[in-house]
């Protein structure tokens, strides 16, 4: 393996080859630039966000951040020291100081308020709850409608003008901007149906938005079930519905669910459609603290994506607000990434499991 022995069959570095090599490098660089940008964005949010979400000591997770409601952050000067506290804590602190001072008969200590910034203290628990509720509700609606229409398209439909129209509608629906869905949801559910800003309005708006994704994914899974399964079942005398129920759906269901998870990631990530249909900037009560059961469906909720929008546009950028901004973005990205990752991993697994 000495370097002076030349391989007589090695290709010679001609100008064309150099040209080819350098061109390939251009493509390679393009690809890795994209990946690098992705890594940078993820890295930035994960690193800065994990400072909020994780703790060095037990229990390693910032529990209050995940279980409390957002509060106003008070920054004040007390005994020459600058301190910051959430609104509730601050009130308790001031009261304690005042009663202590009264008991000792000295004048109340001076608490000089320097600044207060909305949403920057406390946690994001109501937002997490709201997001989960929105996802669960809208996906249930979307799955029912989507799977049913996919069954029709792949099992019952025959080529014809109606089916062509349906396919065209699905294709076009997929391209409609999310803000237009928001406007539509506002016009139809909030105004026309009089549901106001509510979970129901948000559910339907989001469900209609992911419908094309769910239908396309379900149809593909149904189509991938071999014809023989259906023919065998029909030959044994089963009806069409029995065939679908017993020998098509069970094999298509895992595929339907995994592909629909991508739809879930999209639902979770959208802000524009819920801005005027379901999201509140701030709500004091948690969704289950309602007087009547029906109120549950007709209440607005806080949601993570909308909260990120609020904390990144309505309050200033400084060292006090960074904590909640990055923390929220981290938690949200974590949830969405988890869903997306699950879908990708599951899909790869399924591909290797079902081989017919």
């Amino acid at each position: 393996m000495t370097s002076d022995v030349k391989n007589p069959y090695a290709s010679k570095p001609t100008a064309i080859r150099r040209w080819e090599k350098s061109f390939f490098w251009v493509f390679r660089v393009a690809t890795y630039v994209v990946l690098l940008c992705g890594a940078l964005i993820f890295g930035d949010i994960f690193i800065k966000g994990s400072r909020t979400v994780f703790r060095a000591e037990f229990p390693f997770v910032n529990v209050p951040f995940l279980t409390q409601s957002p509060e106003t952050l008070n920054i004040f000067e007390y005994q020459g020291k600058k301190r910051e506290m959430g609104a509730t804590e601050f009130r308790a602190f001031r009261e304690k100081e005042e009663t202590a001072a009264k008991a000792e008969g000295r004048p109340a200590p001076e608490i000089k308020l320097i600044d207060n910034i909305a949403y920057s203290a406390g946690g994001i628990f109501p937002c997490i709850v709201g997001t989960v509720l929105l996802i669960v509700g809208s996906m249930t609606i979307a799955l029912v409608l989507g799977v049913a229409s996919a069954i029709f398209l792949s099992e019952y439909a025959r080529q014809g003008p109606v089916v062509r129209m349906i396919r065209l509608a699905i294709l076009n629906l997929a391209g409609v901007p999310s803000i237009v869905f928001g406007l539509f949801g506002f016009g139809m559910f909030v105004i026309f149906f009089g549901w106001n800003t509510s979970l129901m309005a948000g559910w339907f708006t989001l469900a209609f938005m992911v419908l094309p994704v769910v239908i396309t994914a379900s149809e593909e899974s149904l189509k991938s079930v071999p014809r023989g399964f259906r023919e065998g079942s029909l030959a044994l005398g089963a009806t069409k519905w029995q065939t679908i129920q017993k020998s098509v759906l069970p094999y298509a269901l895992p595929g339907i669910l995994t592909s629909s998870i991508l739809g879930i990631a999209r639902v979770a990530g959208e802000t524009a459609p819920i801005m005027f249909t379901a999201a509140y900037v701030m709500s004091d009560k948690l969704p289950w603290q309602v007087a009547k059961v029906s109120d549950f469906f007709f209440q607005g909720v806080m949601a993570l994506p909308y909260h990120i929008y609020v904390v990144s546009s309505k309050i200033p950028q400084n060292e006090y607000t960074e904590r909640v901004q990055y923390g929220t973005a981290f938690v949200f990205l974590f949830i969405v990434a988890l869903i997306a990752m699950a879908s990708i991993v599951l899909r790869n697994k399924l591909r290797s499991r079902y081989k017919w």
Partner: protein, 533 residues
């Protein structure tokens, strides 16, 4: 067993469930159920159209009314005068621009100290001040007329509101209360008399203005370089044109008639070609979509300029050049990028990218780049970069599909003819998959156009047509977009107001734009698809 009676049928006999609903068997019912569900996509698309129009259609009526009031109350008349004032102010800005250039020249080329340079410009400053003040005689009149017309409009609005109140009371059957509503109807002809009556005064003042401008122009000092002198000559020309237009203005004002009907087309063109989106103003609200549309378009084009080379390049790389290991890793990774929510990207733009880009743009050796250094942290470029990143997965996935669908035999034939891999890729595979790639780019464009959160957070939200005289530097100006304006203003407007309807109209434009982009993409795929052979 051997003797089955008639009342006791054999156990093996098939008992078919013949339950029927509305004459349909069970299976047909199930089919109908699924079929009904399948129609949901069509129904939703129809509902979107229906509800957008339901909320938006009245916009043109209201805008027509809006423009009519603008004329009746004499605001249009006053705006003829105001236009001249604005022109004059623009010319003054032109003069200050020349001064800045001259000062730079004196400081940098002739190396004069600041005090000396300023002293040298004293004559110029006098000239410039004289010019700027030349319009003063009209300004007093203008502000008085503005007040009068605002009052007329206000009075009219109050009367309108009272009428609505009375109608509501009448509709509710409270005729006694309705009779008590006092309506001060306004007679525009009488009300406008003090406005139109001041035309002679205006003529006199504008004559003085013209004289003063001419006088000022004659005192223009000479500037040090031919280039600057040329600019000054250009200014003089513009100023003379400005003066020449005074006569035209007077003619317009003489011919102006408050009672001239406003054509309905004006309400329509005012929206489609309106250059101003001005809301909640004390003077006159304008709902012109042009600045928003241009903003959307500009941001999208920036995004595509970045995303297309990267996305298509990555697709070619992954499909044709990459090793299998790379393929397995890169494809899911890029798909994973598409899961990043846009609001998180927008936040990243505010927190990191905007500041970073501005810091980079301020490094001295980059000052040759058009638009650098940027004055705003959030602008078209910041939003464009993030949108590019957002659309790369879409473009990548679809373009990769398109390349993947090119028949293998094409590639093999190319190799067999002695072409190398690069030649095969550039001359065979990419052209063969071009229809798919173009439709991928179009769908990416649709995605970028319809994106809301990134542009709302990062585009700078300044409602104005970007200043294209800045050349390529226009990309670093803050803009507002169609999606952004809906998201920003929808929460603040009263239901049913003209502003509310205008936002729905913007939504309608967006909706049909997205349908059109989708349609073109489909047509391209269908028409230019190469048959596998």
């Amino acid at each position: 067993m051997s003797n089955p009676t008639a009342t006791n049928p054999p156990a093996f006999a098939i008992i078919k469930n013949r339950t029927r609903f509305f004459g349909l068997s069970m299976d047909e019912c199930i089919q109908a159920f699924f079929g009904g569900n399948a129609l949901i996509a069509v129904v939703v698309l129809g509902l979107i159209t229906l509800f957008l129009f339901r909320e938006g259609y009245d916009f043109f009526n209201q805008n027509h009314h809006n423009v009519t009031v603008y004329r009746r109350a004499g605001l249009e008349y006053v705006d003829i005068i105001r236009q001249k004032d604005t022109d004059h102010a623009a010319l003054s800005r032109y003069l200050s621009d020349i001064r800045l250039r001259t000062l730079n020249h004196l400081l940098k080329e002739q190396h004069l100290p600041l005090a000396t340079a300023n002293a040298q410009l004293a004559a110029y400053d006098d000239f410039s001040a004289n010019f700027a003040d030349a319009f003063d005689p009209v300004r007093g009149l203008l502000s008085e007329l503005t007040e009068t017309c605002t009052a007329i409009k206000e009075q009219f609005t109050v009367a309108e509101n009272k009428k609505t109140e009375r109608d509501q009371l009448l509709a509710a059957g409270k005729s006694a209360a309705a009779a008590q509503v006092v309506i001060n109807d306004i007679d525009f002809k009488v009300a406008l008399q003090p406005v139109i009556g001041r035309l002679p005064e205006y003529k006199e003042s504008i004559h003085t203005v013209a004289e003063r401008i001419t006088a000022a122009l004659s005192t223009a000092p000479a500037l040090p370089t031919p280039e600057l002198q040329k600019r000054l000559e250009r200014f003089k020309q513009l100023a003379r044109d400005h003066v020449d237009q005074f006569a035209e203005t007077i003619r317009q004002m003489e011919q102006w008639d408050y009672s001239k009907p406003v054509s309905f087309g004006a309400a329509f063109t005012g929206f489609i070609f309106g250059r101003e989106w001005l809301t909640a103003s004390f003077w006159q609200d304008w709902y012109g979509i042009l600045p928003l549309f241009i903003g959307s378009l500009m941001v999208s084009i920036i995004a595509l300029l970045i995303a297309v080379p990267l996305g298509v390049g990555a697709a070619i790389y992954v499909n044709q050049i990459a090793t299998p290991v790379e393929q397995r890793l890169i494809k899911p990774a890029i798909e994973f990028i598409s899961a990043i929510p846009s609001v998180v990207l927008g936040f990243f733009g505010i927190a990191v990218l905007g500041t970073l880009l501005r810091a980079v743009s301020q490094t001295p050796w980059l000052s040759w780049v058009p638009g650098f250094p940027m004055s705003e942290r959030l602008n078209g470029l910041t939003a464009g970069c993030l949108l590019a990143f957002l659309s790369i997965p879409t473009i990548f996935t679809l373009a990769e599909d398109a390349i993947n669908n090119v028949p293998r035999s094409f590639k093999e034939a190319s190799f067999a003819l002695g072409a190398n891999r690069l030649q095969t890729i550039l001359k065979i595979i990419v052209p063969a998959g071009l229809s798919g790639i173009i439709s991928a780019i179009l769908l990416g464009f649709g995605r970028v156009m319809g994106e809301t959160m990134v542009v709302l957070l990062c585009a700078g939200n300044r409602i104005a047509i970007p200043d294209f005289t800045a050349g390529l530097g226009v990309v670093t100006q803050p803009v507002h977009t169609m999606t952004g304006i809906i998201a920003q203003e929808m929460g603040e407007v009263a239901n049913g107001s003209i502003h509310y309807r205008a936002l729905f109209m913007v939504g309608i434009v967006l909706f049909f734009l997205s349908l059109a982009i989708n349609y073109v993409a489909q047509v391209i795929v269908r028409r230019y698809k190469i048959s596998i052979g």
